[in-house]
Symmetry: C2
Subunit: 179 residues, 2 copies
DNA sequence: ATGGATCTGTTCATATATCAACACAATGAT
DNA sequence: ATCATTGTGTTGATATATGAACAGATCCAT
């Protein structure tokens, strides 16, 4: 991909995140975004339909990156496999805290995140032993998925009180217990 | 000036400063700068002759900005007039510390800075009273100029042990005493 | 010294970003 | 209601940045 495209899109996404942490998404104008990103207003339309599309693509980008990390980290123990995730959350703190906090966010981010996790969890259920015999996939996935999202949400909103490694270890233990 | 030019040049200058704080100027390659600035190698030649020209313009930019601050701040007491200067040094800490530290820097930055200050000091000498009767302009300017540069150099190299306001007050008092 | 590898400075065709201008919609104050 | 203001999305001409390729220079190990 052309360097200019990357730079422009990065700047735009960063700008939206920053602005959303300052005011409601509705009151953010295209010109605001352009100014913050130091980009011509028209340039935005070369990449996105409108500000909703921009927000959408921004979210999608992160969901996708999380998804790809999953494939990469399979074949690992939970406690280890989770480390890159929590590091990712930490690295993109402003994004996650904004998206999880912002009320006016269209297309609830939390919901999309949950779906993504549930999708990733499929195939992790231990059907070898019979301890999960009485538990439906639906129930299992919903249980672990919401649990996972919930801890992340708490961790982010509370300013990441523990380091990513620690979180990975503890949440990893709990997930391992559930599946 | 076109936004793209500004962004590119900013990125390039930032890249040079960073790289110079890591290795000797001689061993910095054009490709290094391009990579660090996330810019095509050829783009550099659209703005500068070579890396020496880039470094030169970088220094010139700061010298000029300092010069313009002088005109703006005249008609003020020294202690107040110096505040924006020290704030400027603080804001561009990496630049000044690198330029003052780097041995391999061609066209000694310290010398250019001194000339600039001496130029700015002209006209500040108190000829109204007769306490400076026996002192030549040359001597006065060289004295105060090197003193000023010296304190700045010390302040920067020692990690700015006092806040800019404090430095402005103290150095302001000393300069006022001299002129 | 010789050859391979890296760096330099330049060129070209092409892609992207810019600015200014436009018509139109939405908003808000009088 | 109306008018001025602000925001939106689009267009066209132009400026700048890009990547690839080139020839020559410099460096370095053999």
């Amino acid at each position: 991909m052309d360097r200019r495209i990357m730079k422009t899109q990065e700047a735009l996404k960063k700008a939206v995140i920053e602005l959303m942490s300052e005011k409601n998404f509705d009151e953010i104008t295209i010109q605001d975004i352009a100014d913050r990103a130091n980009v011509n207003r028209g340039t935005i339309y070369l990449h996105y339909q409108d500000k909703y599309d921009l927000l959408d693509k921004l979210i999608e980008t992160h969901i996708n990156e999380l998804g790809e990390m999953g494939e990469w980290a399979c074949e690992l123990e939970w406690a280890e496999a989770l480390v890159p995730y929590f590091e990712y959350f930490e690295r993109n703190y402003l994004f996650f805290s904004t998206m999880l906090a912002s009320k006016g966010t269209p297309s609830s981010f939390r919901t999309r995140l949950l779906s993504s996790f549930i999708e990733g969890f499929k195939g992790e259920i231990d059907r070898a032993s019979d301890r999960n015999q009485a538990i439906n996939d639906d129930v299992m996935l919903q249980f672990t998925g919401t649990a996972y999202v919930g801890v992340i949400e708490w961790w982010i909103k509370n300013g990441m009180p523990y380091p990513p490694q620690e979180m990975a270890k503890q949440v990893g233990a709990l997930l391992g217990r559930s599946f």
